[in-house]
Subunit: 79 residues, 2 copies
Amino acid sequence: MKAKITITPKRAVLDPQGKTVQNALAHLGYTEVGAVRVGKYLELELADGDREAARRRLAEACHRFLSNPVIEDYRLELE
Amino acid sequence: MKAKITITPKRAVLDPQGKTVQNALAHLGYTEVGAVRVGKYLELELADGDREAARRRLAEACHRFLSNPVIEDYRLELE
């Protein structure tokens, strides 16, 4: 089983890294690019087993350790 | 239009950040988690327009600037 976790800054939070990427792309000629947000992406291999239990455990790990829920959102997909 | 770009280290490349996350999770009790790979995630706002042209332009930006094609793969989704 594989889990894919995407962690992004919350809408209301300033994202200087994204702003920097946007400016850099504009300087390189990609002026069609508007707001950019930069986040993290994690791919985890999991032992096969109970999907729902795995999802619960991972959601807890995301909430407690992998993301900062004050300033970040996470999205968890199992496949 | 929104573009989502996921940049991950290639399979053959060591990913010390992923290894560190895996070890940390194991120490925290998440021993069911196997290999972890850590990548980057970018969300770009784009002016509406020709989808195929936008995809071509962004694929070029991914290849030339946003990823390091020697050690990283990217995945580009438009929505």
